[in-house]
């Protein structure tokens, strides 16, 4: 998963970047399955590896993006970016490895093959019914916004 994620950042051709992003998402879904989150894994494959990647590839095709020209790389930008990312990662790993409360192994679930989808559905429709409907409105608004944005000229 991490290798494919690195491929997204390092590869030069946008189509290869999108393909390694797909593989990274699928590998992340596999990690979700090892964490007994079957519903989230399936949604991850459907939404990200399916819908989002089709959208990305469609836009790459629409804009007819070619392989990037080798531009003059500004060394200061790479050094600054690398410092920020490396510093963030070092601080994070230091904090995580310093906390003893995080060094727990996976506790056993009481029903390993319990109905995962039903449990998520109960939580979604009983405890989180209002946010669920707000999400529906958000999707509608974004659909309208996309149609408005991609019209040729606004009246």
């Amino acid at each position: 998963m991490l290798a494919f994620a690195l491929g997204v950042v390092l590869l030069r051709n946008p189509v290869s970047c999108a393909m390694s992003l797909v593989m990274s998402f699928v590998a992340l879904a596999a990690v979700f399955i090892t964490l007994d989150a079957y519903f989230i894994a399936v949604v991850q494959v459907l939404v990200y590896a399916g819908a989002v990647m089709v959208l990305f590839l469609f836009i790459i095709m629409l804009l007819d993006l070619r392989e990037e020209k080798r531009r003059r790389v500004r060394l200061s930008a790479w050094v600054g970016g690398g410092l920020v990312v490396g510093g963030f990662l070092a601080a994070l790993i230091q904090v995580i490895s310093a906390l003893p409360a995080l060094k727990v192994t996976k506790p056993l679930v009481s029903h390993p093959l319990a109905n995962d989808v039903a449990q998520v559905g109960f939580a979604l429709f009983r405890n989180f019914n209002l946010p669920f409907q707000i999400i529906g409105v958000l999707l509608l608004v974004s659909t309208v916004g996309v149609v408005l944005l991609s019209k040729k000229e606004l009246k």
Partner: protein, 106 residues
């Protein structure tokens, strides 16, 4: 056996790769893919916390998974809107390089 700290470190590395992509790449589509990687890293840590903090009846904490579901939904909406903006930008400027978009530069 992997511990919770291992999952969190993997999530942090994934987030850093996404952050590096956002900071270092000059193509606006690749910047967008970096954003997606960062959202996925957050999802991974939420699912790990849900699995490692069991409820009293020994089931995973499903509230976290509902939150992950909401994040995935919002990310899908965000991708749609963002790509529409990129298409509109490409129509206006004929480029996807962020260095060519310097109208606001002082």
């Amino acid at each position: 056996m992997p511990t919770l700290a291992h999952y969190l470190i993997v999530s942090g590395i994934l987030f850093s790769i996404g952050l590096g992509g956002v900071l270092l790449r000059r193509n606006i589509l690749i910047i967008f893919m970096g954003l997606e990687l960062m959202l996925n890293a957050a999802n991974l840590s939420l699912v790990a916390f849900s699995r490692f903090n069991l409820l009293a009846d020994g089931m995973p904490n499903y509230n976290a998974q509902v939150l992950v579901f909401f994040i995935i939904t919002v990310a899908a909406a965000e991708v749609a809107v963002g790509l529409a903006i990129i298409v509109a930008l490409f129509r206006a400027k004929q480029t996807t390089h962020v260095e060519d978009l310097n109208t606001l530069k002082f």
